[in-house]
Amino acid sequence: MKDQAAAVRQLLEKYRFTDEAASHVREHVLTHAGRSFRLTLKKLGRYNPAIGAVVLVFLLSKRLGVGLSMLQSAAVTVVTAAVVVGSVATGGYYGVKAVMLEKKIQERKIEDVQDISEPEALPRDGTGGDKERSSIRVPAISVEPFTIVDLDETGGGRVLTALKRELETVCAKRCTVGASGNPDMILRGQLAGNDGSCILFLRLVRKDGQILFARSFESGSLDDLEMKAGEIAGEIYAKVK
């Protein structure tokens, strides 16, 4: 059979059926067929991105020796596109879901910190970490000047300063003390003299109006009251933390 096939080839040569293509022509055919195909489609106005994708699969399959038809290439393109779109959509869905969940967790953390009626949400040991602390707003207590009744203004001011200082020390990292544009709590007080003794009425009010702390402290003198400032600050802090 081999000899006969070789004889047929000789026969074709002899009777001038052969018309050998030069090697550079054959090379050109192999490298430019795809481009030429696309160009004819463009000239015919039949080329668009969808057809381009199908043609790409079609030419790729040819190069790999699979030789898919255009119909099969179109089917492969559609399935591939569906898989890609599905993957991107699923990935996007879970990505957005994860981001939203993270955001919710962050919001909940902030709410927990702001909601001082649930103090257990705040870290107890003050070691929440710098990163965590920096992302959470610290509640602010505004201390208003005391109303002084039947007492020396200067002495009353001393008591107020002492109480502020002690509060700042006690509260430390849990909240800020002092005047604030938008405080979360306000500490109001009235210092009144009463037959040689003095009484301090204190009230800590949340910005929504809820009273967190209300108590009076009686002392023999303003100096004694100033000495008690640390104790008073501790009681206030117990309601805040």
Binding site: A5, A33, L44, R46, V78
Partner: protein, 172 residues
């Protein structure tokens, strides 16, 4: 399939089957790769426009190719006789018994019914593509090309035997 019309699919199949043969033939006629590329593209664009009326793509494409090549030479200012000589039929070089033999061989080749097998025969036996080159051009494996080519050869030998040619060597 919404993406592709039936016409597009048929066109792409015809293009991938016949582009190597048409381009190679045009190249031997015009000698320039770029001009051959333009002419080949024109042939296929014409084919797309006339597809509905085409019964046998191979014959039609070869006719259109001849027409386009002649147009190419006319634009270059070549005379008609000169242009005709480019398409001289090699059969004219043979007389008497040789011409008859050539006709029988031609019939044997034309009796290849399968379109893909005929394309493989054109590329491997006529244009001298290697199996590997033909396989790349047609999107088949080398083994498939070799198998089909051998089947075609067997078919031609069988045809010649039917016509009373018991030994091919006698014709050489």
């Amino acid at each position: 399939m919404v993406l592709l019309s039936k016409k597009d699919r048929e066109y792409s199949d015809t293009f991938s089957a016949y582009y190597p043969m048409i381009f190679s033939t045009v190249c031997t006629k015009v000698g320039s790769l770029d001009d051959a590329e333009d002419i080949t593209q024109n042939v296929f664009i014409l084919y797309y426009q006339k597809m509905h009326d085409v019964a046998e793509p191979r014959t039609w494409l070869l006719g259109a190719m001849r027409f386009e090549v002649m147009n190419y030479y006319r634009k270059k200012g070549r005379g008609n006789d000169d242009i005709e000589s480019i398409f001289d039929d090699p059969a004219h070089a043979f007389v008497n018994g040789f011409r008859d033999t050539r006709i029988i061989i031609e019939e044997a080749i034309d009796s290849i019914d399968d379109r893909k097998s005929r394309v493989i025969f054109d590329l491997v036996a006529i244009r001298k593509y290697t199996y590997k080159e033909a396989s790349k051009a047609l999107g088949m494996t080398s083994r498939q090309v070799r198998y089909r080519y051998q089947s075609v050869m067997q078919h031609i030998i069988g045809y010649l035997q039917e016509k009373g040619v018991n030994s091919i060597e006698d014709l050489l």
